[in-house]
């Protein structure tokens, strides 16, 4: 197992953001993490990569306990992530942004090697023509690709993708889905948070559904899409909905 999350809970004051979430992730798998807004998906990422410690529970990455480790320790062990709200280093160029990922990630490269890796990674995410632009000057779709490039440049073992498709148009989504597919072919294990259903259903091997911090379903995309609890979480009570629909006609 690359990653094991055991009975993790997180409270913010009176708010139970996560309760008793457990998951196991074998090498090479893509796990889709879905759920309505405010379900605790990003919180789960933040707890895994050390932005804040869990209130309870244990997280193991590559056989080592990383519960409450600092983000930079986790990053050096080979865990990279992207942010839902993009966090570019605005006054640095796109190339320098990616070099930060390469320099300080798992491999600890020097500047010269990092520059080469940055070039390759930018070609991979199709952003090479923007390499010398300031990161602040990119549009949202490009900033999302930059986030991805920075994470990839660290040559991670596990990649956490937080809504890389949000705010993209259909053709940009198709491009990004293709990119995620090729990342997996390189042997990177991925957890992705996504709201664009057709994309996450197509790409993921397994889906985990959160609702109000509780794990309500887990399984293959087919199973999850048939699951009553999941439909209820997204659309409300299906029987009630059906009744309402009947009453109307």
């Amino acid at each position: 197992m690359i990653l094991q999350v055991e009975r993790v809970s997180k409270q913010f004051g009176g708010l139970q953001a996560l309760s008793n979430v457990s998951l196991e992730l074998p090498e090479g798998e893509i796990l889709g993490l879905i759920g309505p807004n405010g379900a605790g998906k990003t919180t789960l990422f933040n707890v895994i990569n050390g932005i804040y410690p869990p209130s309870e529970g244990k997280i193991t990455f590559m056989g080592k306990n990383i519960t409450a480790s600092k983000p930079y320790r986790v990053a050096k062990m080979g865990l990279a992530r992207t942010h839902q709200i993009v966090q570019p280093l605005n006054e640095l160029t796109v190339r320098e942004n990616v070099m930060v990922g390469a320099c300080f990630g798992q491999e600890d490269h020097g500047l010269a090697e990092a520059s080469v890796i940055a070039k390759e990674t930018l070609e991979f995410v199709e952003l090479e023509d923007k390499a010398e632009f300031l990161a602040g000057s990119l549009n949202v779709a490009q900033k999302k690709r930059l986030e991805l490039a920075r994470a990839l440049a660290s040559q991670p073992t596990l990649l956490l993708l937080d809504e890389v498709l949000a705010g993209l148009n259909p053709s940009e989504i198709a491009l990004m889905v293709k990119t995620v597919g090729s990342i997996r072919e390189q042997g990177v294990t991925i957890i992705m948070i996504e709201h664009v259903m057709h994309a996450v259903m197509n790409v993921s091997d397994r889906i985990l559904v959160l609702d109000y911090g509780v794990q309500i379903a887990e399984g293959t995309p087919e199973d999850v899409s048939q699951n009553k609890a999941v439909i209820e979480a997204y659309l409300g009570d299906p029987e009630l909905a059906e009744k309402l629909a009947q009453n109307r006609s």
């Binding site: 990569n49 932005i51 600092k70 983000p71 930079y72 990053a75 050096k76 990279a80 992530r81 942010h83 966090q87 570019p88 280093l89 605005n90 006054e91 640095l92 320098e96 070099m99 930060v100 990922g101 320099c103 300080f104 990630g105 798992q106 020097g110 500047l111 990092a114 920075r150 660290s154």
Partner: protein, 322 residues
Amino acid sequence: MRVLRNPGMWLALLLTAAVGVWPFFTKSATTREVIFTILLFVSLATSLNIFLGYTGYVSFGHIVWYGLGGYVGFYFMDVYQTPLYLCVLAGGLTSGIIAFLLGKAILRLRGAYFALATIGVNEAARAFINNFEPFGGPIGMTLNFSIYKSYGGATQALWITYGSLLGLTLLVILVSFLVKSSKFGLGLTAIRENEDAAEVMGVVAPDAKTWAYVLSAIFPGMVAVLFFFKNGTILPHDAFRLHLSIEMIVMVMLGGYGTLLGPIIGAAGYQRLRGLLLVTPFFKNIQLAVAGVFLLVIILFVPAGVIGWLRDRFPQLRRVLI
């Protein structure tokens, strides 16, 4: 070494060296004193820039490192007649070590909270020195004039001090450049732009910030020893001039924070301006107020400073104006 072929570095070094060797040719004591002051501020502003400019953390009490280093170096000189270069090293080392300990404690604070903490440090250091008997307490220390004999007389000693300051200033500029163009510097800039994102990418922010703080504290401690050796006396209110901390920030901001050339231009420009104000009857008592207005205007209209503004206007000069 590919980095040593950088034209921007040579521009900064040669510019400073050209101005710096001028008094050796004119043999004029007046020119030497004017340029001594300029070099002093160039080295202070450049070392502050290693911290303020590269990491984006504002230190309001940077003059503490100047005061502490100066005192320790002066003490060895006065009491043990230690050679000047060893005193300079002792001053830098003291500032560096104390900055390391302090940095470990207060660099966990972010942004405005850190800035507030640094204000307290300056006052605390001055109060401590004021009451520390070995350093002479409020009356400070005065060198025995005979100490200059071992340097070939007072005149010779002044030239030695000047030459050492020039060397140190060039060294600070070189160190600042090496930091800027290194992996360490890339990490610092990442922290400046977004500390959380930098940590997620693996930049060990607490360590990087502390080392930047230490580096930027060492050089003020060294140049202070030269200044007070030349001065012959050291007093608490001379060594810990809080307004100098603010003026150092003005110099860095004026020239362009985070650039190599900026603090050099900023320090020289500000120093010349202050010289003019001090001899103008209307401004001579309110020259610090002018510095305040200056800072306000810079932050409002040219936050990137002279060099930053030039870089934006003339992208073709970017390779030189680093």
